[in-house]
Symmetry: C2
Subunit: 232 residues, 2 copies
């Protein structure tokens, strides 16, 4: 790993959000920008990245560290890379950024929905999108997965989000780092174990879409019960 | 299906609990007995079944309809059959009861934990225990899955259970019937979609065990947020 220890100070992280012009990416960029992290929104299209930055900057305090770059340039500068792309683009984006991602923590937010039947859990052959990412990137990256079940519209609002975050990842220290970022985003996160468990967090999204449809809602989420919240 | 419509009156169900002498089975038997259903605890060992009945009868009102039988005899008399066996016994029990289960609703409660690493999601080849059950039993049974995440110790107590229940099953009417039984057990249930989604409900148990270990708890569960409870 070429990650330097002093760069991993949780208070001074540089976070690249690949495919960050979608609502997931913008929501997370806003929350982390507000928490004082340096955030780079990445896109295949530089202009689109910068448009998203302008959109979010208005919501952030002055001097917030938010910029827009190409995905490649964003990843090069980052300690932590968040992947928020539609599942159709998942394999290609990861393969094309493989070299730049070496030695980084990669947080995969991808949910492998298979239209038109998005209420049915249909995982890729490797077991989940996160395991697929690990396979593509190899052992040079520390892959985690998180934020699958959040209604992203809520992130751009300043209201508390009821839905909690399951964090999976093979490396316990990586999960801890990601849990710190969950907290910085104003959310409650839980250590959900190894990357193989990501099938549950990813698949829950289909179940929540089903619940939204059946019970006429838009913001179904999950919460862990029977135990005191770790961030309280 | 040889199930007669008038037998499916939700208020007069006969429920067999296969492997019902474990804490899952006893907890559910108690809750459904209290709700007025006729419950038959099944076991390979008749004497063990009857011992469990005696144990629970003390907690129930007089004239509750609770008996103990062999698994085979229990299943023959039932409208609904609940499978609460350790995963090691899952395939054999289902195969041996296949003929008796024809035309019944089967609620599979089995979680395919693979010791010693029970905090890691490790599903069987068919995708989940519930899909495996459907494959073994064929299309003559309506298979659903539910109750995977409940701390069963809580069921025998008269306290409200915070953990909610995800109900999967290919047939929507079957899911509705099971949701009725979830309510009768004093729990809140959600229509979680087709049987393929059972991987999430089953896998969540490994995540909850991980959370119990990491955060020093015994009763971690889940709850759906951002939407009003369907049973309220």
């Amino acid at each position: 790993m070429n990650m330097k220890e002093e760069k991993m100070d949780q208070n001074k992280l540089t976070i690249a959000i690949v495919g960050g012009t979608g609502k997931e990416g913008k929501g997370l960029a806003f929350r982390w920008g507000k928490a004082g992290h340096r955030v780079i929104i990445g896109s295949r299209n530089l202009e689109k990245a910068q448009l998203s930055v302008n959109e979010i900057k208005d919501l952030l305090p002055p001097f917030s560290k938010l910029t827009g770059e190409t995905n490649e340039s964003a990843v090069k500068q980052a300690d932590i890379v968040v992947i928020t792309v539609p599942y159709e683009a998942h394999r290609n984006i990861l393969s094309s950024l493989k070299n730049e991602l070496k030695g980084k923590i990669v947080i995969d937010v991808t949910v492998p929905l298979v239209p038109p039947n998005v209420t049915k859990v249909q995982m890729p052959m490797d077991g989940s999108a996160a395991q697929e990412a690990q396979k593509i990137l190899g052992q040079d990256c520390k892959v985690a997965s998180a934020f699958h079940n959040i209604s992203y519209d809520l992130l751009l609002k300043n209201t508390p989000v009821q839905c909690e975050v399951l964090v999976c990842g093979t490396d316990q220290q990586t999960r801890q780092t990601v849990l710190g970022l969950v907290k910085d985003a104003g959310l409650t996160g839980w250590d959900a174990g190894p990357l193989e468990n990501s099938v549950v967090a990813e698949g829950l999204t289909s179940i929540l879409i089903n619940i939204n449809k059946k019970y006429n809602s838009r913001t179904a989420g999950i919460k862990i019960t029977g135990i005191e919240s770790p961030s309280s």
